[in-house]
């Protein structure tokens, strides 16, 4: 069910400010693609255009095409609500709904479409999603406790469970481990490894070692100069990117000369 994403000629604006310029890239299905680059170069911005979350920000808009499988997600008559159900997203800081239990958090997306979910179906979804997020065994005895009561790493996996419970085809992750300790980070990285058999995964990270560890493909974003828009400098197999990058600035970034 995973789908590939084709991005062509994408310009991303905040109001009149061009934040990211002319991105052309194909993101493979059932693989992990990592996006790296210095702060402010537009990684998050780009990621959010892949499920039309960008336009949630007042004044934000895009030019260009993003094709998911065979559907242009910015096409006419496309409902952004549908796009977001199809392309799940996990954020930098874990954000379970504080008023809901673990159980309700996992079901939050499903409840939107189907108020009267049968109890048995609901249970099945919750178990499936939490198992998929490697969390089931840790929380199965306290499903009715608030989601906020979990540790940071558990919360983040809960958010991943919530995202996969609606069966998306793509999973976007924006620095999902940057707020986590080493052990939680390892747990989430393991999970990403497992998930890629079913999902197309795009992950933004500021940790190059992490990119090297989890991804097959890596895209490097950078600013041409301060005040200029960000752009995709290089997109390559991860192994190639971290050994023999094509661009000089990629090399400079990877070797830690800035950022």
């Amino acid at each position: 069910m995973a789908k590939s994403i084709d991005v062509s000629g994408l310009n991303i604006y905040y109001g009149d400010f061009l934040a990211v310029q002319d991105v052309n890239v194909t993101i493979k299905a059932r693989a992990v693609t990592a996006l790296i680059g210095p702060s402010g170069c537009g990684k998050s911005t780009f990621l959010r255009t892949l499920n039309r979350m960008h336009e949630v920000i007042p004044g934000a808009r895009v030019e260009g095409d993003v094709v998911l499988g065979s559907d242009a997600i910015y096409g006419p008559n496309v409902d952004p609500v549908e796009v977001r159900r199809t392309v799940g997203m996990v954020f930098q800081r874990p954000n379970p709904f504080p008023t809901m239990s673990i159980y309700e958090n996992v079901l939050a997306g499903n409840r939107l479409n189907n108020r009267k979910l049968k109890k048995a179906d609901a249970d099945a979804i919750v178990e499936k999603a939490l198992s998929g997020a490697n969390l089931w065994s840790e929380v199965k005895d306290r499903l009715n406790k608030p989601g906020m009561g979990l540790s940071g790493g558990q919360q983040q996996r809960l958010c991943i469970a919530r995202a996969i419970a609606v069966e998306p085809q793509v999973l976007l992750m924006d620095e999902p481990c940057s707020a986590l300790d080493p052990i939680s980070t390892a747990a989430v990285e393991d999970l990403i490894h497992e998930l890629k058999t079913d999902y197309t995964i795009v992950i933004v990270t500021h940790n190059m070692q992490q990119a090297a560890r989890v991804s097959e493909y890596t895209g490097f974003f950078n600013l041409k100069a301060a005040g200029q828009p960000g752009h995709l400098v290089e997109f390559n197999k991860t192994s190639k990117m971290f050994s023999t990058p094509e661009q000089e600035s990629t090399e400079a970034y990877i070797s830690g000369r800035f950022g």
């Binding site: 949630v56 004044g59 609500v81 159900r85 709904f97 479409n113």
Partner: protein, 309 residues
């Protein structure tokens, strides 16, 4: 190190002491001012409560029977105002926070703020000369058709200057306050959770239900309470709009309407002298205590909300 050089340090300390002292004194002034308000109202109010001069209670037997209809009217008018203003304010704040495009949101917010900038005498002028006559036919219709509801028992006032009209004017006046607080609270709802809801495929309204209202609840309550505080104390608009007697009735559209404490003070202050004025001050003390409690509760809720989040 030059820490042995003592004299400039003393100079600095003096500057710091003076400045800090002035700042602290200014802060304490506020404590004193509020204590002063309470003290002077009590000192000048008590003679008006214990007096035996019957004219002080305008024909009523005691301070309590004089004040009770006023308290009733004050609360009734404020509650009507809140019932009208709250949904409107929440809606307006939602538009400004989540619905209107950015270019429009700012001027819309400004327009709502302008409502708060209109002086209350002008509301009074508008309410008495435009709104009340415009409402009168509606009241007549309500009295004709819905008189089985106690609120619309009728007979309808001939002038439209009823407690309901006063409530409407008050609603307009407290609306910007509640809207402003709602806007602030909505803006504070974590973008993280709003985006989480949207990313799950929620529509805008579902997002608001999932990620805005649960956070905003305590803030909304306190915003409404602050509006209540304002509505309880509003004076001139009510004084100018309401045609008051000392009735205690739930008939909102009739010609017999309870007055409010504040309006009663403004209207009868001039014609009262001596101990009669002390009685008015005592009713003011009652109003002060009521609004103090309401604001106290409201701020308490806000403070608790802040600690909780």
């Amino acid at each position: 190190m030059t820490t042995t050089d003592a004299s400039p340090r003393v100079g600095r300390r003096l500057g710091d002491l003076l400045f800090a002292g002035t700042a602290r004194a200014a802060g304490i002034t506020i404590l004193i001012a509020l204590a002063g308000v309470a003290t002077f109202l009590i000192v000048e109010g008590i003679p008006g409560i214990v007096t035996t001069q019957s004219s002080a209670f305008a024909g009523k037997a005691s301070f309590v029977s004089y004040t009770w209809p006023l308290v009733f009217g004050t609360v009734l008018a404020a509650v009507i105002a809140l019932l009208i203003a709250t949904p409107l304010a929440v809606g307006a704040a939602l538009v400004i926070g989540f619905y209107a495009p950015r270019r429009l949101a700012t001027p819309l917010g400004y327009m709502i703020d302008l409502l708060a900038a209109v002086p209350s005498v002008v509301y009074g002028l508008w309410g008495a000369t435009l709104l009340a006559p415009k409402m009168q036919p509606t009241y007549a219709w309500l009295a004709d058709h819905l008189s089985f509801i106690p609120f619309f028992a009728g007979p309808a006032s001939a002038t439209g200057r009823t407690i309901l009209t006063a409530g409407v004017v008050l609603a307009i006046m407290v609306l910007p306050i509640i809207t402003a607080i709602c806007r602030e609270i909505f803006a504070q709802t974590p973008a993280l959770h709003r985006e989480a809801a949207l990313a799950l495929g929620a529509t805008r309204w579902e997002m608001i239900k999932m990620a805005v209202f649960p956070y905003a609840r305590s803030g909304l309550v306190s915003g409404v309470m602050l509006g209540l505080g304002r509505a309880l104390g509003e004076t001139m608009a009510v004084a100018m709009v309401l045609s008051a007697s000392s009735a205690v009735t739930f008939n909102l559209i009739g010609s017999q309407n309870p007055s409010t404490i504040a309006a009663n003070i403004a209207l009868s202050f001039g014609e009262r002298t001596g101990v009669e004025r002390n009685t008015l001050i005592a009713t003011g003390l009652v109003l002060f205590v009521i609004t103090f409690i309401v604001n106290f509760l409201a701020r308490g809720i806000v403070a608790r909300g802040r600690k909780g989040s």
